[in-house]
Amino acid sequence: MRITAKQIPIIATLAVCLLLYGTAAIAFHDRGFFSVGVFVNFFIDNAMLGIASIGMTFVILSGGIDLSVGSVIGLTSIFIASAMDRYKLPPIVAIFVALLGGTVFGGGMGAVIRYFGLPPFLVTLAGMFFARGAGFLLHLESVPIDHPFYNALSEFHLALGGGIELTASALIFLATFIIAIYLAQYTRFGRNVYALGGNEQSAVLMGLPTGSVKMRVYALSGFCSALAGVVYTLGLSGNPSAAVGLELDAIAAVVIGGTLLTGGVGYVAGTLLGVLILGIIQTAITFQGSLSSWWTKIAIGVLLLIFILLQRFVQTRKLRTTAS
C-alpha cells in the first residue's frame, strides 16, 4: 500500500501508540504492565471517553465541533438515575428515553447550525450550558442507582478465557467502534461527512444533502454522548456534575488520533488509537507511582501540540505538491 499525505497523521498516531506502549511495557515489566489484563483494562476504563470521542470524530470530520458532550453525559446520567429513583421508570425505558433525548438534543443543535448558519462552536457552547443546567435542575447531587437489572448489567462480564473478562461498558465501546467504522467507510452518510468537511461549497454543488448530513452528524454525537452517559450509570449512580470538560479530552483524542481539526481527513480507527494513547499515558503514570497524576495532562498537552504541528506540516506540504 502506498502512503498518501493524508495517512501520515494516522501512521504517526500508530507509531506513538506502539512507542508509548512498548516503553511502558519495558519500564514496568516487573509489575506486569505488558499483560492482556492491563490491555483489556484500557477498553474498560476508557469506554465512556471512547464512545464520546467516536461521536466527536464525525463532528470534526464534518468540519464542526461539539462542546456539549460532557454536559450531555452528566444530564443523561442524572436523568436515568432520578427517573428510576423518583418516577420508578423501568431501566430499559429510562435508557431508551435518554438515548432518544440525547439524539434529539444533538439534532436540535444541528438544526440551529444548519438553518441559522451559526458557527458550531457557539451553538454547542450554548448547548453545553443548557444541558449542564438542566442536569442540575433534575437533581443537585449524585443519585445512587439500585435496581436488579442495573446491578446485573453492571456485574456482567464476558469471559474471554484465561481470567480475562470484558465488562458491559467495554462491549458497548467496541460495538460502537465497529458500527462507527461501518458508518464512516461503508455508507453514503459517512462519505458525505468527509465531503462536507473537505469543502462545503463543493459538496453543495455536487448535489450532496449537506444540510441533512450536518444535522445528522450532531444527532449522532448527541446519541454517542447519551450512550456514554448510560455507560457512566453502569457505575451505579447518576451525577449532574459528571464528565465536566470531557469534550476537551475527546477533542484531544480525535486530534491525536490523526483527524484534521479543519475536517475532511481522518479515520475512526485513529480515534481508537488516540483514546488508547491517553489511556496508556494515564496507566503508565499510575504504574510509576511517584508522579502526580496531573502529569497525564501535561503529557496530553505536549502530544497535542506535536500533532497539531504535524498536521500543519502535512497540510502545507500537500498544498505545495498540488501546486506543482
Binding site: T4, A5, K6, Y182, Q185, Y186, T187, R188, R191, N192, Y194, A195, G198, N199, Q201, S202, A203, V204, L205, M206, G207, L208, P209, G211, G264, V265, K318, L319, T321, T322, A323, S324
Partner: protein
C-alpha cells in the same frame, strides 16, 4: 413566445422571464431561454453578463426572484443542486468543485455510490470511475487523491462525474478553460454523441472556435438580458461579438484588426536563463527576456511552460542551469526575493493561489503594490480608491462597486482583478500565466492593448497562453517548448500560428539560432 425553432417536438427546457438580483446588481433581468432535445446550445456573453447566474438559478443554487422554469413540459422549482440532479439536470460549474482530499473514484461517485446489503461497494466504485474517465480518454489511478491531479485533469474528472448519470440536460459552464486541444476534441466527440442520444446540452465558453465547432444554437446574454437566440450557422463571428459587446459591426472590425508591432531592436537584456533543469518539471530551457518586450511561451499542456515560469519567479529551485538578471548571476530562492527584484507573477490557478475571496475588489487590486511598499508606507485610502477605479475602468471589470467582496464577481471578472493587481504593482518583469482564461473577447483586446502600452513604458512581459492566436498577436518573440525543453524561437515577422504549430509538431526542426 414563438421561437424560430422549427422542431415539432416540444422544447426540453423552457425558462421564462427569469429575474435575479444581488445587492447592488440586477444579474438577470427577465431572461428567456429555450433548450431542445438533441441540441448543443451555447450560452454566450461578456464577463458578468449573467451566464453562470442563470445556470445557478436553473440548478437551485440561487432562488430566482421571479420567472418560470419548465422541464419536459412540467414546472420545476429546484431548491438545491440535489433537487436539480434528481430532476435530471447534471451540471459542471465554472470553478472545479470537487473534494480534494478524497480519491478520484470517490469524487466521481459521491452521492450515488453503488451499495449492496447496506454496504458501499468500493471495488465497483473504482471500476465505474475508470469507465467514466475512459470515456474522456483519461487514464490514471482512480484511487489516488484528487489533489494530486493537475487542474486540467480535475476539470476532466468533474466532467466525467457529470456524465456519469442518466441526465436529460447537461450543463457545462466553461468546461474547457484548462484543457488542451486534444482533450477538447475528445470532449466534443462525447458531447455530440450524447446529443445524438437525445440530450440537451448547455455549453458556456469564451472560445469562439469551440462555439462554432459544436453548437447548434447560440443564445446571447448582455447585462442580464437576452439579446437573442440564433442558429449557429446563421450567425457570423463578427455578428456574435458585436451582439455580445453591444457595439456595431464596423467598430468591432476596427478594434480586432491587425497588430501594431514595434520591432524590438537590440535592447538591453533583463533576464537570461540558460540550461534550466528541474527534475519532473523542465529538462533544458534557455530563455532571454529583453527590456520592453513581450516574450510568448508556447507549447502544449505539460510542455513545461508553467514550470519555467515558476522557476523564474523563485517558487521552485532549478537543479541545474543559471539565471542572470541585469547581467548578474542570481539564485532565486523565493517568490519574495523575486518580487523584491521587481518581478510579478499572475498564476494560472486563481482559485488557490490568486484571489483572496473575502477581501474587496479594491483590496485585492492593491495587495501586491502595498506589499512592495511595505506596511510602513501605507497607500492612503484615496490613492487606493483611485487605483481601483482606474483598473476597474481600464479592464472593464463588472462590479457594482470597488468595495464588493471579490468572491461575488463573475469568474472572468475575478481574473481581470487578479491581472490588475500585478499591473498596478508596475513590475519590471511580469509573468502572465494564462491571464485571459475565462475572459471575454472584448476584454482580451483591451488586455492586449494594455500589454503593448506597458512594454512601451519599459516593462517586460513573459506571456503564457494556450491560445496561439493570442500569443501570435501579442508577442515580439515566441519561445516554443516541447517535452519540457526549448525547441525553437520565432522573432517578429516569423511569428505565425502555422509556424508555431509546425515546430510543436516537429515537422520543422529549423530553429533559428
Amino acid at each position: 413566445m414563438p421561437q424560430t425553432v422549427p422542431s415539432i417536438e416540444p422544447p426540453l427546457l423552457t425558462l421564462r422571464g427569469i429575474e435575479k438580483s444581488f445587492p447592488g446588481v440586477k444579474a438577470l433581468a427577465g431572461v428567456d431561454f429555450t433548450l431542445n432535445r438533441r441540441e448543443i446550445h451555447a450560452l454566450m456573453g461578456e464577463n458578468g453578463a449573467g451566464k453562470s447566474t442563470l445556470i445557478k438559478v436553473l440548478t437551485g443554487v440561487y432562488r430566482r426572484d421571479s420567472g418560470t422554469m419548465q422541464l419536459g413540459g412540467s414546472e420545476i422549482d429546484p431548491r438545491s443542486p440535489q433537487d436539480a440532479q434528481q430532476a435530471g439536470i447534471s451540471t459542471v460549474y465554472q470553478e472545479v468543485n470537487l473534494i480534494p482530499h478524497l480519491s478520484v473514484a470517490e469524487n466521481i461517485s459521491l452521492g450515488r455510490q453503488p451499495k449492496r446489503l447496506g454496504f458501499l461497494r468500493w471495488g465497483e466504485i473504482a471500476q465505474r470511475a475508470e469507465k467514466a474517465i475512459a470515456r474522456l480518454d483519461l487514464k490514471l489511478d482512480v484511487r489516488k487523491p484528487l489533489s494530486s491531479c493537475s487542474i486540467a485533469v480535475q476539470q476532466l474528472i468533474a466532467i466525467a462525474r457529470a456524465l456519469d448519470t442518466d441526465a436529460r440536460v447537461l450543463i457545462l459552464d466553461e468546461p474547457t478553460s484548462s484543457l488542451d486541444t486534444r482533450e477538447v476534441e475528445q470532449l466534443f466527440v462525447l458531447m455530440r454523441k450524447l446529443r445524438d442520444q437525445g440530450l440537451g446540452i448547455v455549453f458556456v465558453t469564451h472560445f469562439l472556435d469551440q462555439v462554432y465547432a459544436v453548437s447548434d444554437r447560440i443564445t446571447i446574454l448582455r447585462n442580464g438580458q437576452r439579446v437573442g437566440d440564433y442558429a449557429a450557422v446563421d450567425l457570423s463571428r463578427i455578428e456574435l461579438i458585436s451582439k455580445m459587446i453591444g457595439k456595431d459591426l464596423s467598430e468591432v472590425e476596427r478594434e480586432s484588426g491587425g497588430k501594431a508591432k514595434p520591432l524590438s531592436t537590440a535592447r538591453e537584456i533583463l533576464v537570461q536563463a540558460t540550461g534550466l533543469k528541474r527534475k519532473g518539471a523542465v529538462e533544458n530551457v534557455d530563455l532571454t527576456i529583453r527590456k520592453g518586450e513581450v516574450v510568448g511561451l508556447a507549447g502544449l499542456l505539460g510542455s513545461g511552460r508553467t514550470e519555467t515560469a515558476r522557476i523564474l519567479f523563485g517558487i521552485d529551485k532549478p537543479d541545474a542551469g543559471k539565471i542572470e538578471i541585469d547581467g548578474h548571476k542570481r539564485e532565486l530562492r523565493s517568490a519574495r526575493q523575486a518580487i523584491a527584484l521587481g518581478f510579478g507573477f499572475s498564476s494560472e490557478d486563481r482559485k488557490t493561489e490568486g484571489i483572496i475571496p473575502n477581501l474587496s475588489v479594491r483590496e485585492n487590486i492593491i495587495l501586491v503594490l502595498q506589499g512592495q511598499r511595505g506596511w510602513l508606507r501605507l497607500l492612503s485610502r484615496k490613492e487606493q480608491e483611485e487605483l481601483a477605479a482606474k483598473y476597474i475602468a481600464m479592464l472593464n471589470i463588472a462590479t457594482s462597486d470597488a468595495e464588493k467582496p471579490i468572491r461575488f464577481l463573475s469568474g472572468g471578472n475575478q481574473q481581470k482583478a487578479l491581472l490588475a493587481r500585478w499591473l498596478a504593482s508596475k513590475p519590471r518583469l511580469l509573468i502572465l500565466d494564462e491571464p485571459t482564461r475565462g475572459i471575454d473577447v472584448g476584454a482580451k483586446f483591451e488586455i492586449q492593448k494594455l500589454m503593448r502600452s506597458l512594454t512601451n513604458e519599459g516593462m517586460s512581459i513573459l506571456f503564457i497562453s494556450s491560445e496561439l492566436e493570442e500569443v501570435v498577436r501579442s508577442s515580439d518573440r515566441v519561445v516554443i517548448l516541447r517535452d519540457r525543453a526549448r525547441i525553437a524561437e520565432l522573432v517578429g515577422e516569423e511569428i505565425s500560428q502555422a509556424a508555431i504549430l509546425s515546430s510543436i509538431a516537429g515537422t520543422n526542426e529549423s530553429s533559428p539560432e
